[in-house]
């Protein structure tokens, strides 16, 4: 297959070379956030076991994700379907180069070390001891290249008594407290319906990596960043820690978490309200409504055609409305229930009230006029997949805009470039290494 080269993006990070050993979801983002700005990211996969995120259902071929997962997780299973670059892979490994190296083979390790010597950064999200076991822990990496920045991403970090504990996104969210603070009062926690700390947590890793690379550029000295995603999540919950320290108020208390009500600021109404209709899965449709000011409250009451609420002693002040918000929620729900969700949003927004449809993925992709205006789902090309829409990298920088035309690399697509051009191996040497299973 002939594959078009990529990675020629011009940008402020031109000249920065990253070795990316990441897999799953949280790690890949740290390097993926550099490629739109011109960094050269070399994604390294083992020769016979490319990333599992390459596995994905192929459109229109009747292959489900379950088939792939079973094939991949059964010990010793040989995939019956060749690896390829699934669309989601183009999301989280966008703009990277792909090579395969068997780092457990002495020659593979030597090649890897040569790559470390000519790189600026290295990132991985393996278990805590993997790189040490390869003989490539921080001390060795620093010895090979003192400018190198090393970012490790793991659930509990590489230091500390829990460093060997296993995690994935939901465990990080559970352990940090992020899951606990979401849910209806008196009910079990609701948590997050996706690995929030794989995505937002991945962005946090990406920010730390870039700051460390900037520091290395300034000082000529690399550094090791031990990113524990659990600590990342705890750092998104600072106020709860301070409320506990200053006021002695724990979150494990009656009435907490507050559902979609707001405690800070204490405002009401502030909730999701059932509307007319159900989605494709039979779930109710909802609109979020909040009034943070007296003007918004008056506008809501007027739109609902219930001016008598303004003088109702239960709702006169914000404090009254917060104290009686359950009753207020019932009144508002009665109004929203027969109405269409986008109509409610438009009507209330027109009079300055905070109102937002609880959008599904379908809503965002197909109907959200603002996301269309922002071109959030552009088409990209992939030689194995064809043309498809994906989620763009959203920041808009006037002088150095991120390149949103890039894609995920095919399996060892860039072996010749990396081993030939960067490391200077001849075609014969590469062929021998391939025959030995080193690359």
């Amino acid at each position: 297959m002939s594959i078009a080269p990529q990675g020629m993006t011009r940008g402020p990070l031109n000249g920065i070379r990253i070795i990316d050993l990441t897999w799953k979801a949280v790690g890949p983002w740290s390097a993926r956030m550099l490629t739109p700005y011109g960094a050269e990211v070399i994604h390294v996969e083992p020769p016979h076991e490319p990333d599992d995120h390459r596995w994905d259902a192929r459109r229109g071929q009747g292959i489900t994700m379950t088939d792939h997962q079973v094939a991949h997780t059964e010990p010793g299973a040989v995939p019956s379907i060749p690896y390829y670059t699934a669309p989601y892979y183009s999301q989280i490994h966008n703009g990277k180069h792909a090579v395969s190296i068997n780092t457990r083979h002495p020659e593979g390790k030597r090649l890897f070390e040569e790559l470390v010597k000519v790189s600026d950064g290295l990132t991985e999200n393996f278990s805590a001891r993997v790189l040490d076991n390869w003989g490539l822990g921080w001390e060795r990496l620093h010895e090979l290249n003192e400018r190198l920045v090393y970012l490790s991403t793991s659930g509990f970090g590489h230091a500390g008594e829990l460093s060997h504990y296993r995690t994935y996104g939901p465990i990080v969210q559970a352990e940090s407290g992020l899951t606990f603070v979401s849910g209806l009062p008196g009910r079990e926690p609701a948590g997050w319906g996706y690995s929030h700390m794989d995505i937002c947590g991945g962005w946090i890793g990406g920010l730390g990596f870039l700051l460390a690379l900037l520091q290395a550029k300034q000082t000529g000295q690399g550094t090791y960043v031990d990113y524990a995603v659990t600590e990342g999540a705890m750092s998104l919950l600072g106020t709860y820690f301070l409320d506990f320290q200053a006021n002695g108020r724990p979150t494990r208390r009656k009435g907490f978490p507050p559902g979609n009500h707001s405690e800070w600021p204490a405002v009401a109404p502030h909730n999701t309200y059932r509307t007319a209709g159900i989605d494709r899965q039979g779930q109710d449709w909802w609109v979020f409504i909040a009034c943070e000011t007296q003007e918004q409250w008056e506008a809501l009451v007027t739109e609902m055609g219930k001016p008598e609420l303004l003088s109702d002693p239960r709702f006169v002040t914000m404090k009254d409305r917060v104290a009686n918000q359950d009753v207020l929620d019932e009144i508002i729900s009665t109004w929203t229930a027969p109405r269409r969700r986008f109509d409610i949003m438009t009507r209330l927004q027109d009079v300055g009230v905070i109102a937002a449809v609880v959008e599904t993925a379908e809503d965002r992709v197909e109907y959200d006029p603002q996301l269309r205006h922002r071109e959030l789902y552009p088409l990209i090309q992939h030689p194995e997949v064809g043309e498809f829409a994906y989620e763009a990298f959203p920041p808009k920088l006037s002088r150095t805009p991120p390149d949103n035309s890039l894609r995920g690399p095919a399996v060892h697509e860039h072996d010749d470039y990396v081993f030939g051009q960067i490391l200077g191996l001849s075609e014969r040497e590469r062929s021998d290494l391939r025959a030995e299973g080193v690359i």
């Binding site: 209806l184 600590e231 979150t251 996301l371 789902y377 920041p395």
Partner: protein, 411 residues
């Protein structure tokens, strides 16, 4: 130790949306001057307050999001206040603002005007929807973004008629602030080579919309819609429950499908507690049979649920992890203050708070590193604490400052 953003001056126009940007930059060593209304940043009035008494200097949410910043209280809607902000921006490296589109242009503080006077300035505009577009002027807050951006649509309970749920702690603003700080760092990098700043537009709605993991890909590529499921990933169909209550009433995140490597340890544990039943039989070495019995009411599900009802969450966590199970405890945030692991990693930073007469531990921040120090050095400022000193720096004399304070332009 020097910090990576030492020498960078950030002017942050106070708002609830963007304060995390300034916090990260301040923790990374930048000097962050927060320009806030004379009545205080909206962030000072959200609560919770110390002893629940409203006081702009004792708002704990503000304390968290504003570590190490300096406060200049200025009414920028009046010409003298606006002039003072212009002077600050004339020498600043970064301007972080979150006003509604058009607000700063009406005050002559838009990028075209300010950037022309200070071409090195990085003008970072973090808004609900970007500067234009059909929804650019909508009224939003953090939870409204979690609704519109997709977080709520996939989070909540398995009951299809139950409320979708949004997380707390300003998570929409946090997502966008991380993305914005990354963008600013790219712009600082570029500026080292070009000596030029630029305009950065980050929309909170965009950031939320791409931060739902697979939801959009399910729709884009497979036309699949998701169901919300209690405590776990939304998906095209309901899966096995994974949120289980332990003996002490705390919930755990525990999946009941076991690999060949994990199963012997599980059998041993169940045997010790007398709940193993016939699960020790050889036939259960078959992963498919185990999976078939992990459904509600199945032998595996019944036995493991019973086991968990006999063991407190922390003990179950440690035992499960020792046999290779990826299980965790659903902890309240403050329970982590007791976890030796985070103490050992130096996660807590004591910050002196004279308002309560003691220092209290703050989370260090995202990263542990001997070389990259991004952690708070000091408390959030009091309202207008640095107004006079900073106005003097931009060459106002004492009489002018006095006039500004007496007329309510400055505080």
């Amino acid at each position: 130790m020097a910090k990576v953003l030492n020498g960078i001056t950030v002017v942050e126009l106070a708002d609830r949306r963007n304060q995390m940007v300034g916090k990260i930059m301040s923790d990374a060593g930048a000097r962050v001057i927060q320009v806030e209304p004379v009545t205080g940043s909206p962030g000072r009035w959200t609560g919770p307050f110390v002893n629940d008494v409203e006081d702009p200097d004792k708002c704990l949410d503000y304390w968290w999001f504003n570590t190490g910043k300096e406060s200049v209280a200025l009414d920028i809607t009046r010409p003298p206040g606006r002039d003072a902000l212009r002077r600050l921006l004339a020498t600043a490296d970064v301007f972080v603002e979150s006003t509604k589109p058009g607000t700063l242009a009406a005050l002559g503080l838009d990028y075209d005007t300010i950037g022309a006077r200070n071409p090195k300035l990085i003008y970072a505009s973090l808004t609900d929807f970007g500067p234009d577009g059909p929804w650019a002027h909508l009224e939003m807050n953090d939870q409204a973004h979690l609704a519109l951006g997709g977080q709520m649509g996939v989070s909540g309970y398995s009951d299809p008629h139950e409320h979708p749920m949004g997380g707390h702690g300003r998570q929409a603003y946090n997502m966008a602030s991380v993305m914005m700080t990354h963008s600013i760092t790219v712009a600082l990098w570029d500026r080292m080579a070009t000596n030029l700043g630029q305009f950065i537009d980050v929309s909170i709605h965009d950031c939320c919309a791409i931060c739902t993991e697979r939801s959009v890909s399910y729709w884009l590529w497979y036309n699949q819609a998701n169901v919300r499921q209690t405590g776990q990933h939304a998906g095209p169909a309901y899966g096995l429950p994974i949120q289980v209550q332990a003996a002490d009433g705390r919930y755990m995140n525990a999946r009941f499908n076991f690999t060949q490597g994990q199963w012997p340890g599980m059998v041993k544990w169940m045997t010790e507690l007398g709940v193993v039943g016939d699960l020790a039989e050889e036939k259960y070495n078959d992963a498919k049979l185990r999976a078939a019995e992990a459904v509600p009411g199945g032998t595996v599900e019944v036995a493991v649920s019973k086991l968990l009802s006999m063991v407190p969450a922390q003990e179950a966590f440690e035992r499960a992890q020792s046999i290779g199970l990826t299980w965790g405890v659903i902890r309240s945030p403050e329970e982590n203050l007791e976890m030796h692991h985070f103490e050992e990693r130096g996660f807590w930073r004591q910050i002196e708070q004279p308002e309560i007469g003691k220092s209290i531990p703050y989370p260090r921040g995202f990263w542990k590193s001997d070389g990259l120090d991004v952690s708070p050095d000091g408390r959030a400022p009091h309202l207008g604490e640095h107004t006079k000193a900073i106005l003097r720096e931009v060459e106002y004399d004492d009489a002018e400052i006095e006039a500004m304070t007496t007329t309510g332009v400055a505080r």
